[in-house]
């Protein structure tokens, strides 16, 4: 059984009298350990797809089975636990909580699954070490660079041992050097920790890190190909 299995997902918004089909029958299966990049122009439905996969939103119809759980049949309010245990999120805007230190941000998901304080601290520290930020544990987000903030967010996505990481434009707010750092980190997490990574991006360079590339257009899957990842080339760096 696939880790992620969607069948005929539709997401239809009613805008005035017009029906907008953000997703128009998407069926995709993703196996454990894959590194998938999802690309597409804005309005292609990739973000909607991502939100549904991340259990942040529900499809209008269709089924979505996540690690054996029928998400579409589960009440949205009960999905908090699913998000907590199965999914780690990394966002474009980092989405760290202000006025809260790096380690407190990383501990946060464990507060919601009632991990004891001592263990919370230990695991958070380990996660920060894994992203190379242990020495910045007590810095506030605004005392960290964008790349560091994103690595804190990645550490946060790791602490609950979720098998899947959803990364929504994770390099969108980062310069090339930091982007490379972050993407290398994702690659490591995929290879060394076996995390399933689903990455949304509109940058072909970034998509190159993935082992599979899915392209969206007009709410539908346009292409779905296995690819050999290549690290960002120095040439493209010069181009930026």
């Amino acid at each position: 059984m696939s880790l992620i299995d969607t069948r005929d997902l539709y997401k239809i918004y009613q805008v005035g009298d017009v029906e907008v089909k953000a997703l128009n029958g998407v069926s995709i299966a993703i196996e454990k350990g894959e590194f998938v990049a999802v690309m597409g122009p804005s309005g292609s439905g990739k973000s909607t797809f991502m939100n549904i996969l991340g259990c942040l939103d529900k499809p209008t119809c269709g089924t979505y089975i996540l690690d054996g759980i029928d998400v579409t049949a589960t009440d949205l309010s009960k999905l908090a636990g699913v998000r907590n245990r199965k999914i780690g999120f990394v966002f474009q805007g980092f989405n760290l909580i202000k006025r809260t230190t790096a380690i407190e941000n990383v501990e946060l998901p464990m507060i919601y699954n009632h991990t004891p304080a001592a263990q919370r601290h230990k695991k958070a520290m380990e996660a920060l070490e894994a992203v190379g930020l242990a020495q910045r544990a007590y810095h506030l987000p605004n005392q960290l660079s964008g790349g560091q903030q994103q690595r804190v967010a990645i550490a946060r996505s790791l602490v609950c041992d979720a098998p899947i990481i959803f990364a929504d434009e994770p390099t969108g707010n980062l310069d090339t050097k930091m982007s490379i750092e972050v993407m290398d980190l994702f690659t490591r997490l995929n290879k060394e920790m076996g995390k399933t990574i689903i990455l949304i991006t509109h940058e072909p360079d970034i998509a190159q890190y993935a082992t599979r590339l899915i392209k969206f257009k007009d709410g539908q899957k346009m292409s779905d190909e296995i690819q050999t990842p290549t690290a960002a080339k120095p040439a493209s760096m010069e181009g930026l």
């Binding site: 939100n51 991340g54 942040l56 939103d57 949205l76 309010s77 908090a80 636990g81 998000r83 907590n84 245990r85 780690g88 999120f89 966002f91 989405n95 760290l96 909580i97 202000k98 006025r99 809260t100 501990e107 946060l108 998901p109 507060i111 919601y112 699954n113 009632h114 991990t115 004891p116 304080a117 919370r120 946060r156 609950c160």
Partner: protein
């Protein structure tokens, strides 16, 4: 679980202290409300107690017997209140003292000093009735009363005024050209009885006053008394005792069973009750004003919490994305508003206590800080936090993660 709750509590504290000025202003309403409720209730109950004290000095278990000033004209031959009544009343069950009472003012001369003094012509039962006691010297004896002796027991303040540092005992003073020997000084009471302040007055035997000074009730009867001061043993049985006294006096006055009373019995019980209930109404009224300001403070808390929820929509989205349930979010905001209002409540209690002590000091009321008021206002401020924090918290918890995350 407790760990997690502590963590949520910490998050809330952090959110509050991130905006100190705002938190302070928000709490201000609660602070003022709680302080007002505590102060008003404390001052209210102090006032009530002070009224009660004043009346109990005067004697709430005191009944006066006297002839009415506006005597019913249908009574053809009214009898004066005399010692016969006093003697009879002393036998009534439940009466612990009955004293004759004739009050007059005199100029009292001692050497070159002349002081206007209120003198009470009475007998020794007056000490029992009013809980007075003799500090120096003695009271008058039965023999002195029977023999119209010109003796006087003088009040502590009056003694000081007239004699200064001289020992007043066995000194002679002159009242209306009649010399009196001071045989005793009463102990200072510090409060005035009803219409007669013993500290600044003097006591003489009723017989002497009546016969030699010709004072008192303008009656041809040389035995007539102004009134009789009666003390009952048990305040709670005052109504029954009053009926017994009434029957006794009707008997001594030989009133026909169908005839009307030619006397009246006054007691302060109803008067005290009324004064107390006025004080209660007053403090209730002021307490309501305090409560209203608490409610207004609560609305302030709600307002700020709503702003806070809106401001932190994105944060709510993040929390939801990483696994916070609606309940977690609701709890966080509820804890925040309860903490906010409880901090206000705590400061309010401290201020209320300070105000109360201040008011007590400058209004010479005994501070009656009621634990009850403190507990209630603490509870009320927590309840305010829950009640007015619930809606904002509910609103926050009802956000969908995706909408909250998209919020800019």
């Amino acid at each position: 679980m407790i760990d997690s709750f502590l963590a949520v509590f910490k998050i809330s504290l952090k959110a509050i202290f991130a905006n100190k000025m705002r938190a302070a202003l928000t709490s201000l309403g609660i602070i003022i409300g709680v302080a007002a409720v505590i102060t008003v209730l404390a001052v209210g109950s102090a006032t009530k107690k002070s009224i009660a004290d004043r009346f109990s000095n005067m004697g709430t278990n005191i009944i006066f017997l006297r002839q009415p000033w506006d005597l019913d004209e249908s009574i053809s031959s009214p009898k004066d209140v005399t010692m016969d009544d006093v003697v009879a009343i002393r036998e009534v069950e439940g009466v612990s003292a009955a004293a004759p009472y004739i009050q007059t003012s005199f100029d009292v001369k001692y050497k070159n000093t002349s002081v206007s003094l209120s003198a009470l012509a009475t007998d020794t039962d007056i000490f029992k009735a009013y809980d007075w006691s003799v500090d120096k010297g003695r009271s008058f004896t039965e023999k002195e009363i029977a023999s119209y002796a010109q003796v006087m027991v003088i009040g502590a303040t009056a003694a000081q005024t007239i004699f200064g540092d001289v020992d007043p005992l066995n000194k002679t003073v002159v009242l209306s050209n009649i010399p009196f020997t001071v045989v005793g000084v009463t102990k200072k009471t510090g409060s005035s009885g009803f219409g007669f302040n013993i500290d600044e007055g003097a006591l003489i035997p009723y017989t002497t006053g009546k016969v030699k000074l010709n004072s008192g009730w303008q009656s041809s009867n040389r035995r007539a008394l102004d009134r009789v001061v009666i003390k009952v043993e048990d305040f709670n049985k005052i109504e029954n005792t009053k009926v017994d006294i009434q029957n006794t006096v009707r008997n001594t006055h030989h009133i026909h069973p169908l005839g009307k009373d030619d006397f009246q019995l006054d007691d302060f019980a109803s008067f005290v009750e009324q004064a107390k209930s006025t004080a209660t109404t007053m403090s209730l009224f002021l307490g309501i004003i305090g409560a209203v300001s608490l409610i207004v403070g609560g609305i302030g808390v709600m307002n700020i919490m709503l702003v806070s929820v809106t401001e932190r929509t994105r944060e709510i989205g993040i929390r939801m994305a990483i696994g916070a349930t609606s309940w977690n979010i609701r709890l966080q905001f509820l804890v925040e508003s309860v903490t906010l209002s409880c901090m206000g409540g705590l400061i309010g209690i401290v201020l209320g206590v300070i105000f109360t002590l201040f008011v007590a000091k400058y209004m010479s009321l005994s501070a009656q800080l009621s634990v009850w008021a403190i507990v209630v206002s603490a509870g009320f401020s927590a309840a305010t936090g829950i009640f007015f924090g619930y809606y904002p918290a509910y609103k926050a918890s009802k956000l969908t993660p995706i909408d909250a995350l998209r919020y800019e």
